[in-house]
Amino acid sequence: MKKTKLFSFFFALLMFFSLGATFIKPAQAANQKQVAEGSILKKIKKSGELVVGTSADYPPLEFTTSENGKTKYVGVDIELARDIAKDLGVKLVIKNMSFDSLLVALETGKVDMVISAMTPTPERKQSVAFSKIYYKPSGEYFLVNKKDKDKYTSIQSLKGQTVGAQTGSNQYNLVKSQMKDSKLKGLGKINNLVLALQSGKVSAVVVEELIAKAYAENNSGLAAVRSNLKETQAGNAVAIAKGQDDLVAQVNKTIDQVQKKDLISKEYLPAAAKYMKTEKKSNTFAKYIPYFFKGIWYTIVITIFSVIIGIVLGIILALMRLSKNPILHWLAVCYIEFIRGTPQMVQILFVYFGIGYLISNLSALVAGIIAIGLNSGAYVAEDIRSGIDSLPKGQMEAARSLGLSRQKAFRYVIIPQAIKNIWPALGNEFITLLKDSSLVSVIGVAELMYQTQLVQTSTYKGVLPLFIAMIIYFIMTFSLTRLLNHFEKRMKRNDND
């Protein structure tokens, strides 16, 4: 008996994956279609939009500023993107995401090109194409705490220390290959690296000159020190999916113009510097309140919709799991076990980049809601099942003896009681969901955590925005707890218990 059960479990698991495989096949086809030769330029012209991916935490190359309470992307790379869009005669749309997600976004057609201080290394060239070099940074710097300014001045002086660099960046690889005696700490966002620096988690952060100087200038506790890292392939270029020769040619044409007129040092950098100065002048937190409000709004939207998906899916899965039909039963078991056995972060990335193959204009917000809802469904299903299992058998029998079908018995008798039994567990699940919604910041959904990171970048301050975010999250979860308790009490009163 036990053996056959185990066997059918694996069989169902196998079915589940082969089902998944059939899903992925058309996905690959869609992907190939998306990056078919010369297709992106056509797509840009047709939609009238150039979608540029960037990791806007790298002043003065790309960063954010607040204008009338709205986030504005600025910096050298953004200026270049604007000129490219202008030359193509289309509107510019900036998609901000963490640096290590940029190339995936490019390969999956989420963005048309990536302009994010990216160095064309041989490894990257294997997966994407690059334009000409448009900007040569003047060299790598160590960003250190001011008190260490004279201590950490070279690769040798950082021996045995932890050194930070942006994951997937050129600096990251430089540290890996040239600073073998130091421990390397990679993080996706520069602002988190700076935070790690300030809190002593790393002794130095490797960034290029302009960025190091920008942080040092805006944060009195930091200093920029020229490093002795040797760079072989310096220079930034625009990354474009492979096989888009026409688009590369267009971009190169713009870059030629930019270089001929020396726009980077004559216009782009002064413009960026101006934004950085205004940032410095008016770095009061009041200015960033709209950021947090926008974040709260998105967090609430994500939570509400994910909870709805979670409940509906949870009920369906719980009923499937309790069903007498073995196929439905094992499908539900596999889904629940699989979702509970994989990290939510991976699921979010998978939905955005993976399912995004199938639905090419799946927005990050929708992908985030779907991912969290799908995850929540598995947990809600287990909660409901345990709630149903905990009911006396006599309830189902009494309902059936009255002529209610199994479905009706579930609907009118079993589920309402189960929901009441599991209300505390469900409440916990929804509070967890609200907190976990912060994970979708990785795919660039403008919820609270993401906004917090923007504020960190814009203010060059690490801890205070995090503290504010924590307080806001707490207020939200606490209010939700009170609300759920209120309903729990009301249901109890109904019962006259």
Binding site: E397, S401, L402, P416
Partner: protein
């Protein structure tokens, strides 16, 4: 007229044979009490009648259909005609008394809320609990809960009522009110099958008494026959202990 015809009914749980080849008829309008020692299969037999337990083999013929060989859907329709009252009442705790009674008529028969409510209140009046209509089951005594359960089963206008030890879970002082309700029901001509340990009641109210032991129907007869002149040694032994 035969209402339920049981032919060669067998039921096993795993390797344990609980019912061993039982054949019997329930005649229309008759009140039948099933008595016997604990573990004799009385409750299992009763629960097989409306297929809450699926028989291992044999036939149960009700309304011209063999309940062991019909679809879930057809079974649901036939169950409407068989009311059941449980030892542990099994009222729905999330609904008040009147909601308990009117749920099935509304959701199964599609009776309008208004009409269901009216009928429910009439039935509650019959079992003497009209004034408790808006209360929740948890605030009622066991005897009151069981009377509500009877009203709930009656709301579907069943042709036969099955009682599974309806007074076994009650405090002694509450047994009487439930038996009284059942007595009234019997007097109204309802066909009833009652698994019970209340020998006095079985003797008073029943038209027929069935004695079960060891998964077999040992003896059937009028209350006088069974109680005064039992034939089988198992029945003699049992009755000498309980009477």
């Amino acid at each position: 007229m035969t209402m339920i015809k049981v032919e060669h009914l067998k039921k096993s749980f795993g390797k344990k044979e609980v019912l061993k080849d039982i054949s019997a008829n329930v005649e229309k309008g008759k009140v039948i009490s099933i008595i016997g020692p604990s573990g004799s299969g009385k409750s299992t037999f009763l629960r097989c009648l409306n297929v809450l337990e699926t028989p291992t083999s044999g036939k149960i013929i009700f309304d011209g259909q063999d309940l062991t060989h019909i679809s879930e859907k057809e079974l649901d329709i036939l169950r409407e005609k068989m009311g059941m009252v449980f030892q542990s009442f099994n009222l729905f705790p999330n609904m008040n008394v009147v909601e308990n009674v009117k749920l099935a008529p509304m959701k199964v028969k599609g009776v309008s809320e208004e009409e269901a409510e009216k009928q429910a209140l009439e039935l509650l009046d019959k079992v003497g609990l009209k004034d408790r209509a808006k209360q929740y089951p948890s605030s009622l005594s066991g005897g009151q809960q069981q009377r509500v359960a009877i009203a709930r089963a009656l709301a579907m206008n069943p042709e036969v009522m099955l009682f599974d030890e309806p007074t076994s879970a009650l405090d002694p002082e509450m047994v009487g009110e439930v038996l009284k309700t059942m007595q009234d029901l019997a007097d109204s001509g309802m066909t009833m099958v009652i698994v019970t340990h209340e020998m006095g009641f079985a003797r008073e109210v029943s038209d027929e008494v069935w004695f079960m032991a060891d998964g077999c129907l040992q003896e059937q007869g009028s209350p006088e026959q069974i109680f005064e002149n039992p034939q089988s040694p198992r029945a003699k032994d049992f009755l000498s202990k309980v009477l």
